[in-house]
Point group: C2
Chain length 232, copies 2
């Protein structure tokens, strides 16, 4: 498992870099999912569960962090191709950094790629990484008011995973109120409540991911009309 250190891309045209990476991924028949969330919402735990549940799929994971390689080690231990990216203190990944990480991953046979973006609900929402799908995670302990406080992240995501639903009995998190707030900001978003611990809801999310991968594989390009809409 490698670790690379990246600095912000020198190019001013992040959107163009993002479109170029997306076109390349579509051409190669690979699906890249940009996973965004606050620190501690369970990004690595969710990805680990997906990797374990779908042994028929070849995964590649880029773990972006300011420091440490604990997340990449966890993915590596599952036998998936993993690379650790250190962002030189930056709180997000941009498209140039994602392209460099993808090249360094050298995952020629991987079909489903995840970029685990830096953990926070602010900066990652401002940069198109070139991924075909933007997936955000909100964990139950974080509270159902987060759509009010970080609207951009909810607006720019194609999928919202509400994680740690096994903790619902212990927190005052109103699933339906939260979903309403999110759909008000982004009527097209898909919402999947899951518990990676108990497995609850994981099957629906995994079926949806496989559906997206199959679209890419059959050269249909990617159909999402989210904020990072691919220029195809």
């Amino acid at each position: 498992m490698k670790t690379i250190k990246l600095n912000a891309s020198v190019t001013a045209s992040n959107d163009r870099d993002a479109d170029a990476l997306r076109a390349r991924l579509n051409r190669d028949g690979k699906l890249l999912v940009n996973v965004m969330s606050s620190a501690g919402s369970g990004k690595t735990t969710l990805l680990s569960a997906i990797i374990r549940d779908l042994p028929q799929i070849r995964f590649g994971v880029m773990e972006a962090d300011i420091e440490s390689d604990v997340d990449a080690q966890r993915i590596d231990a599952l036998g998936a191709k993993a690379i650790q990216v250190h962002t030189s203190g930056m709180c997000h990944m941009d498209a140039g950094m994602t392209t460099a990480a993808y090249d360094a991953l050298e995952a020629d046979d991987a079909e489903l790629l995840f970029l685990e973006n830096v953990g926070n609900l602010i900066c990652p929402a401002e940069y198109d990484t070139g991924a075909q799908v933007n997936l955000m995670i909100l964990s139950v302990p974080e509270g159902d008011d987060k759509p009010l406080k970080y609207p951009l992240m909810f607006q720019k995501s194609d999928v919202l995973v509400i994680s740690k639903t096994d903790a619902l009995p212990y927190f005052s998190f109103d699933l339906s109120k939260c979903s309403q707030r999110v759909l008000h900001l982004n009527p097209k978003i898909r919402i999947f409540p899951v518990s990676a611990k108990t497995g609850d809801g994981m099957q629906a999310l995994e079926a949806w991911l496989i559906e997206q991968l199959n679209r890419i594989r059959t050269n249909q390009n990617h159909p999402l009309n989210g904020w990072f809409a691919p220029a195809l």
Copy 2:
């Protein structure tokens, strides 16, 4: 309750602004605590519990967020002086913004002031706000590996509150392993495990805060030797 919108300070000398604000607070006999954490770790819930538990103290709270005023409304409802600060998309407060917010709060009679910084573990650690105390919160559901991933925040805090300890039975969070990791980064940090929900541990934290306030009141200035060490 007011809402103000602030932009990044024009001055390049954040450290000088921070020292000036700290000197002014010391002179005025007020203690300002900069509260930093990830989104959803329970900053507002902790402050609400402290305000409720200490009716003898006059509080002032500056709530910094990218959007919304839900947090300031919660504080306002408790009868404490509150102001909502919108950071124009910025992921942190700097000393100039904090000074402007303090002026706008108009809390002449408040003794214990809290700045609830923008919710993330990255950017707020990079800017001295001028507060005499830096307090960070890590909630149990976020996981005990956070010191490995966000070392700067743990290094720059005088106090770590480990919140939501009532959730310890439901999460694999090792309190002693986490404390060891934190003390390795910052041997002088004070660690208070608390549950604002059950009240567990709150008294020790509140006693410590009152002790700091009394030092300021008796003109001893502030004794902490943390990263944002006051220039006194």
